[in-house]
């Protein structure tokens, strides 16, 4: 599904290149649950951003679903966002002025899905995440864990084939974090959604089935998680 070939990212400053990523080559298959780990500043988030096409690599090629997406025009990228990729953020990034319901609805509106279909999908998600009672509340009326649930529900609304999560539990207490990670695991195993997450926590990484260790921009280790 994802094929990264010799990805490099560096910033040139007065002729001195400061590398963030070097020679990253890896393949992620459909249905995998990958955790990217490493110390702060190792380049984890940058790698995730490149996979999410939010940043462009300075060098190397990137194929998504068999298509070269290393440099992509905006229209095509938006097309991918609408149909294939869901983002989950550490800070949830819900839209403060909109209710839970409207937040989940937003990607569906951009995907131009009919209103009845929209209503049924949202009802389904609300139901699944046990937040039906909260649907008319605003994000700031929810706890962090609940907000992240809404964030995930929103990411799932467009029925993406892959979810990219940047420290999804970074702002949460451990009980809530476990809940979220279990949800991810379930989504991965039952719905077959590919998940790539960046995390600091060894424990969270074990929910997945593969761990990429990154340090100083280089993939040091690529291990399978054995349950």
């Amino acid at each position: 599904m994802i094929q990264l070939n010799n990805i490099e990212k560096y910033y040139a400053n007065k002729g001195v290149k400061s590398y963030i990523l070097r020679h990253v080559t890896t393949t992620i298959k459909q249905g995998e649950f990958v955790s990217i780990m490493g110390p702060s500043g190792a380049g984890k988030s940058t790698l995730l951003n490149i996979i999410g096409m939010l940043e462009e690599p300075t060098y190397g090629t990137y194929e998504f679903l068999g298509e070269d997406v290393t440099t992509l025009n905006e229209r095509k990228r938006i097309e991918l966002y609408r149909n294939h990729i869901g983002f989950v953020f550490q800070a949830y990034h819900l839209i403060d002025e909109m209710t839970v319901y409207e937040n989940i609805e937003a990607p569906l509106l951009y995907k131009k899905i009919g209103s009845s279909e929209r209503a049924s999908r949202i009802a389904d998600l609300l139901d699944r995440f046990n937040i039906v009672a909260k649907k008319d509340l605003f994000p700031n009326q929810l706890s962090g864990g609940q907000q992240q649930l809404v964030g995930i529900a929103r990411a799932l609304a467009a029925q993406p084939s892959i979810i990219l999560a940047d420290e999804p539990t970074g702002n949460l207490q451990s009980a809530q974090a476990d809940e979220i990670m279990n949800l991810f695991k379930k989504l991965n195993q039952e719905d077959g959604i590919t998940i790539i997450q960046v995390t600091h926590s060894e424990k969270n990484a074990t929910y997945g089935n593969r761990i990429l260790h990154i340090a100083d921009g280089v993939v040091k280790d690529d291990v399978k998680v054995i349950v």
Binding site: Y81, F87, Y110
Partner: protein, 780 residues
């Protein structure tokens, strides 16, 4: 101060907006001051008055500054409270020359007392014992220079109309432009009586001169007015006209009368300009507030830190006010530069001479007040708003809620756009009205119609016939006729016409004009029935023609062949002419009587150019032939459609001014909107990024951002429309012929304002919409 420099772009927008606003405001104020200064140059202007006559006719009361020649003497001698009084003729364009150096200039005939009432600036000579002798003249400085160059003109002889030798007794400074008195030289009244002998014999029923009156005390005006109201009637039992005095200081601005009472006049236009000036300044201030508060997020931290280290709210407020006053000062300096650059253009446009009175303390005082006012108004909101931030909240990580501050700013933007859209509506209606009047048929064909002023030999009917023959033979013109008044001016009228069946208690006012042969053919007008005055009917001396309005006013059926009485003579109606516009194109055509020109009642010769000949060639032929027949006078000719065009000057001026200042107002409003968009985009950066990641395209984002602004503009339009409707309806009601208010101006206003809003907002927000979403999402 460092702050201003650090945010150069912001400061530029802010100062630029303020400067344009201030410059527009100052130009308008200069103009308003100029107009208010009218006729106030004279020391005694407060106690000087113009005598007006009220005359009832056609069911209306007409008020004129024309009075009988006997009035001045009577007022001076027999009315208590009057200290002085003088007659003057209206300015007449006459030939005045020093040897062969002859010029046509405006002269006035005045009583010697005239020079006591108005303290003109004497450069040479004094006001004592002046104009006593019949052959004397006072020149203005510029005329003296034109006639005599740099030589002294005192005691030299100039010739009036190639006829009267006049001794120059004094030279006075030029009359300021904002004076209702317009003349280039003054001559004694006695000379007028000698030239126009009829004036001597006129009684109390003939109004032909202007009477200026000076009262001992301006407080007694009401008393004097009551005592002189029926003066005409007391002097002559047949006279029903009433007399009143109108202050000199109100002569120019309050020139309209209804039912014999002053009902304003140019003052209303001036009030509009004053309002415009204030509104533009306010808009500029609103802008300033908007832009300042929109940066508050960035400055909130500064406020927090300052407060945390012990700065009081008061000192913060004064800091912000100081900053805004400084900005407004810089804005003023820039405004001055703009002003100096644009003044010549505006002077040219308004055909006046506005200058900045750098050496007048009042001017500086106003300026300082303006700066302080602007600084205070513009700085107040940001000052109080920013200084109210609580330091803890600010330092912890400040985010402005979409709450009160924002809605105040929205109200300000709505206010700006209400103003802008009002102006768009008004301007377009003014233009529509102008076009409507211009395209309204005049009732005659003004194309290729030339008006030649009849002077010297050309006053003689035989010479006119000679001229006609020669011009037609040369192929320069197709028709020649004469008229007793300029075709594009008002003039004589009479209420002395009676007809069988006339109600003796009503009086109907008819314009009366003497016409030459072929008048109707020459101007290209139409006869409704009967015939025109022509050479075939030699005995046309008692035949008259009416226009349709005249026949209607008399309520006459089958008028041809009917007899009417005019003063003492009896006349026969031989024709009815279709109405044509002579004086005011905005009003209905008044009743008119036309009669055959005899002897000397010719003031213009009308020439219809040969349409198949080259215009320049025809004109030079005309000049050549006229010069041969009338060698003593310079050629004075004009195209009728050009002189007609001048009637629209006031309306055109209003249109141009509201166009310009409306443009400025819109431009400044755009800057304000830009500020708001800047703020909004900044505030919603995160949301926009989230939406993009969720799959929103740039188009989606732009729609999202524009939606709110379009809502604001729509609200502004909704408020503006009834307002604009009321204003423009008021303006239109002054015209009898007026364009119907259509949807067009309103839709124009919507389209323009929405378009402008979208453009302004999009320019700003496209940057945000295009930005990489990760930039906003990465940092927490």
């Amino acid at each position: 101060m460092r702050n201003l420099w650090k945010n150069k772009g912001f400061s530029l927008i802010n100062i630029g907006g303020l400067a344009i606003g201030l410059a527009s405001c100052m130009i308008l104020l200069l103009y308003v001051v100029y107009e208010f200064g009218y006729d106030k140059q004279y020391k005694n202007y407060k106690s000087t008055y113009i005598a007006y006559t009220n005359m009832k006719a056609n069911g209306k009361t007409f008020s004129w500054a024309w009075t009988p020649g006997l009035l001045s003497q009577e007022l001076k001698e027999n009315v208590t409270g009057v200290s002085n009084s003088a007659r003057s003729s209206y300015p007449i364009s006459l030939l005045i020359g020093n040897g062969e150096n002859k010029l046509k200039n405006k002269g006035m005939f005045v009583d010697p007392a005239y020079l006591k009432i108005f303290d003109f600036d004497f450069i040479d000579g004094t006001s004592d014992n002046i104009l006593q002798n019949i052959n004397t003249v006072i020149l203005t400085k510029s005329l003296a220079k034109k006639l005599f160059g740099n030589h002294s003109s005192i005691n030299k002889i100039v010739k009036l109309d190639n006829l009267e030798p006049l001794k120059v007794e004094a030279v006075i400074d030029d009359i300021p432009q904002n004076s209702s008195l317009t003349f280039d030289y003054l001559m004694p009244w006695k000379l007028y009586e000698k030239r126009e002998t009829w004036t001597k014999k006129q009684g109390w029923g003939s109004n032909f001169c202007l009477t200026v009156v000076q009262l001992q005390n301006s407080n007694t005006l009401a008393q004097v007015n009551t005592s002189i109201k029926d003066l005409f009637h007391r002097m002559d039992k047949d006279q029903e006209n009433e007399l009143f005095l109108h202050p000199l200081s109100k002569w120019h601005l309050y020139g309209d009368f209804e039912n014999g009472k002053s009902v304003g006049g140019k003052i209303s236009q001036l009030k509009i300009f004053l309002l415009l000036a204030i509104c533009i300044l306010l808009i500029a201030c609103v802008n300033f507030m908007n832009l300042s508060t929109s940066r508050s997020e960035k400055r909130a931290k500064e406020v927090g830190v300052r407060k945390a280290i012990g700065s009081s709210r008061k000192s913060l407020i004064s800091q912000f006010i100081l900053e805004s006053t400084l900005l407004s000062f810089i804005g003023t300096v820039v405004a001055f530069i703009l002003l100096e650059i644009s003044l010549p253009y505006f002077n040219n446009l308004l055909n006046i001479n506005l200058i900045i009175q750098y050496n007048d303390w009042r001017y500086w005082l106003t300026l300082i007040c303006l700066i302080l006012f602007t600084g205070l108004i513009a700085g107040s909101y940001p000052a109080f708003y920013l200084s109210s931030f609580e330091p803890v909240k600010v330092l912890k990580g400040f985010s402005i809620k979409a709450g009160s501050a924002f809605s105040v700013r929205k109200v300000l933007v709505v206010f700006q756009f209400v103003f802008a859209s009002c102006l768009i509506v008004c301007t377009s209606v003014i233009y529509q009205q102008l076009n409507y009047i211009k395209n309204k048929p005049l009732g005659y064909n003004s194309n290729g119609l030339v008006q030649l002023s009849a002077e010297g030999n050309l006053k003689n009917l035989q010479k006119i016939n000679l001229l006609r023959e020669r011009l037609v033979k040369a192929g320069a013109v197709t028709n020649v006729s004469t008229l007793s008044m300029s075709l594009s001016n008002g003039g004589n009228n009479t209420s002395g016409i009676s007809w069988p069946g006339k109600n003796p208690n009503t009086s109907v006012l008819f314009n009366n004009r003497a016409i030459g042969y072929d008048f109707v053919e020459t101007i290209g007008a139409k006869m409704v029935e009967g015939r025109s005055i022509s050479k075939q009917f030699e005995k046309d001396s008692n035949s008259v023609i009416f226009n349709e309005a005249g026949i209607k006013a008399m309520g006459m059926k089958n008028p041809i062949g009917k007899k009417i009485k005019w003063d003492t003579g009896e006349n026969v109606i031989v024709g009815v002419m279709k109405d044509f516009v002579i004086d005011n194109p905005f009003q209905k055509v008044e009743p008119m009587i036309l009669y055959s020109a005899f002897k000397d009642n010719v003031s213009v010769i009308l020439l219809k150019l040969n349409p198949s000949a080259n215009v320049t060639a025809s004109l030079s032929k005309i000049d050549e032939i006229v010069k041969e027949i009338n060698p003593d006078y310079p050629i004075d000719r004009e195209f009728v459609n050009q002189s007609f065009e001048q009637k629209f000057e006031n309306e055109k001026l209003l249109g141009t001014l509201s166009n310009w200042f409306g443009g400025f107002a819109i431009f400044i409003s755009c800057l304000g909107l830009l500020g708001l968009a800047l703020f909004m985009a900044e505030q919603r950066k995160k949301e926009i990024s989230i939406r993009k990641v969720l799959g929103a395209s740039t188009g989606n984002i732009l729609t999202l951002l524009n939606k709110d602004f379009i809502k604001l503009v729509a609200i502004a339009n909704v408020i503006a429309f009834p307002l604009a409707y009321v204003i423009i309806n008021q303006w239109l009601s002054a015209f009898e012929y007026r364009v119907a208010i259509s949807f067009l101006p309103f839709s124009l206003a919507i389209v323009i304002s929405v378009l402008i809003a979208i453009l302004t907002v999009s320019i700003q927000s496209i940057k945000v919409a295009k930005a990489n979403p990760i930039d906003a999402l990465k940092y927490e």
